[in-house]
Amino acid sequence: MQNQFLRFLLWRMVQFLPVVAMATLTIFSLIQLVPGDPAATIAGEYATAENIEAIRHSLGLDRPLWEQYGIWLWNAAQGDLSNSLLSGLPVMDEVLRRLPSTLTIAVLALCIAVIVGVPLGVLAATRADTMLDRLVTGIASLGVAVPNFWLGMILVSIFALGFGWFPTTGARPISEDFWGALHHAALPAATLATGGIAEIARQLRSSLIEVLQSQYVRTLRAKGLPNYLILWKHGLRNAALTLLTVIGLVFNHMLGATVATEAVFAISGTGSMIVNAAINKDFPVVQGAVFVLVLIVIVMNLIIDLFYSLLDPRVKKG
């Protein structure tokens, strides 16, 4: 059993390797489309052509593209994310320095989305086709449609500028000042959470409605089981399978959306790091950051899979 489980884990890891390679290759190719030349940027305004050429050579930028990518991938596989073209500093250090702020908002946003989205979904499902249901569903569609940055600005103008309850910008390191970090992360996380709340509420509602109309719920009622047990024990337990999938997707989406949110709230997380590096065509930095984010997504998906196999006896392990 335990052995089987480890094999299952290992197998899932191996399955994800191509995903990592694909993601970084795509990023690498896209960066080539960005105008500009890092070597010229480093050399400065008054550099000669030879100067630039020398810098390009020292950075390895004169090699064929596939070779540049190959070297990067080889190093990354060994845990070395190379150095920034511009600052020359190790990318890994920079990513690790900025990651906590990004993760703080993303994880907080996920918690908010689950804590608010689940009761809303349950409420809408148990009151299906009533005014309340239509209200929740309506707000949910709105939540999906509203752009994050726009909502972020509105939240800032109301709760930060208006009431002064939250800081407008910036972040605190969560390792030093836990509550301060949460306080700073609250607005950006709330911004990030709206889409997730809406998605979780909507999906949970439809999944729960399906479960509650199922044959086995009719059996439960025929047994004389009280309604609260039918809803909270059997209903939620079965709908949790869908919920898990949705939570995984929502988290992936949130990690991506941190790029825009960090820009609005001037947070120096990995999102803003990627944006700045992309503008300067500093591909090791972009790729390094994306690489780490993809790893996080993969780990998250693994955790979801684990939960899934725990919750659903029909999932075969191994």
């Binding site: 086995y216 009622r221 025929a222 089981l225 009280p226 029909r314």
Partner: protein, 354 residues
């Protein structure tokens, strides 16, 4: 608001049973359905699906409820369990269980009887059990809903119930998930769950229809044994009159939402009194001696919205006459039982036994 029951004047008599003593009359049947009507309300429409259904089941008795698909058997069964959506269903008549009108109970009171006094098993064993809980957990949960017992006692009694329905190695199967069992085993588990609380009445809605023939026979044996051994009464719902006649002492035939015939099983098989029952009997493969095409009833069951005002079988009945377009009442018959056909006494309809 409930309308008073306006069917045939109730005589207080129960219908004839296949007992050696024809005078034996239980003072009060376990289940006594009087003039049950069920109307579904849709958006802007009322659909009367079932009308004037009267039937009784005495304690320990097995009664069959037959009719083609779409005749309202399942809806009737669900109504007896209080499982139809209360918001969109309207009921007429009475459902008396132990002399108590279930239709007047609150949902909470009804729930106490559901699963305890009256249980139901369904057609689809593949989907009728919760896929993410073990068989044993689902049986134990039922027991603990109705009895104040601990986990270990619930486990013991669940294993006992599994053994009673003939599941081999019940202690192991107790911890199996539904998907790990075959269809027949699941239906057995479903039966075990329902009988674990020893209900006085079991409603079995096409319990074998989804299973293959050999398994079908085994499940029928299990049900037969259970009712014989524990004295549990059964309302056996099926489209298959042949199957019903094997286990039930009385047969109630439904057509298009109405009871059309209600008599002792032997009487029905020898001399059906309603042309619909006769048609059903003659289309049974097991009773037709000659090879060749089975004489099936032409046409199909009308949908609730298209029910005719007169005899609902008129469009398909080979004996139809002018008077048949008047509404037919369930009439007591001279030789016992009831039929909803004004010609029932004069017609000599073919059965399958003589």
């Amino acid at each position: 608001m409930k309308k008073p029951w306006r069917g045939i004047p109730w005589t207080g008599e129960t219908m004839t049973t296949r007992t050696s003593d024809p005078m034996a009359k239980p003072p009060q049947p376990l289940l006594d359905v009087r003039g049950l009507g069920i109307t579904f309300s849709g958006p802007g429409s009322l659909v009367p699906v079932v009308r004037d259904v009267s039937l009784t089941v005495a304690a320990g008795e097995s009664v069959g409820l037959v009719g083609e698909s779409g005749c309202g058997k399942t809806v009737t069964g669900l109504a007896l369990m209080g499982l139809l959506p209360f918001r969109t269903s309207r009921f007429d008549g009475q459902i008396l269980l132990d002399g108590e009108n279930l239709l007047e109970l609150s949902e909470r009171q009804w729930r106490k009887r559901r699963g305890r006094r009256i249980g139901m098993i369904f057609q689809e064993p593949m989907t009728a059990l919760d896929p993410v809980f073990t068989i044993g957990a689902q049986i134990g949960e039922t027991l603990r809903t109705h009895f104040r017992i601990g986990r270990s006692e619930a486990r013991e009694r669940a294993i006992e119930a599994l053994a009673q329905v003939g599941i081999p190695d019940p202690a192991t199967r107790h911890d199996a998930y539904p998907h790990e069992l075959s269809g027949g085993m699941r239906q057995r588990a479903m039966i075990a769950m329902t009988i674990s609380c020893e209900p006085a009445l079991l409603i079995a809605d096409e319990p074998t229809t989804a299973l293959d023939v050999t398994v079908q026979a085994q499940i029928m044996d299990v049900l037969g044994e259970l009712s014989a051994r524990s004295g549990m009464a059964m309302l056996f719902i099926s489209h298959d009159l042949g199957l019903v006649s094997q286990t039930c002492s009385r047969i109630v035939t439904m057509y298009a939402g109405e009871v059309v015939e209600s008599r002792a099983a032997d009487d029905v098989l020898c001399r059906p009194r309603h042309p619909y029952t006769s048609g059903l009997l003659r289309s049974l493969p097991s009773f037709t001696p000659r090879k060749g095409r089975l004489p099936s009833i032409p046409g199909r069951v009308p949908r609730p919205a298209e029910f005719p005002n007169g005899c609902r079988f008129e469009g398909r009945c080979p004996h139809a006459q002018q008077q048949c377009s008047a509404r037919q009442q369930l009439q007591p018959l001279r030789d016992g039982g009831f039929a909803r056909c004004w010609r029932s006494e004069e017609l000599s309809l073919p059965g399958v036994l003589s």
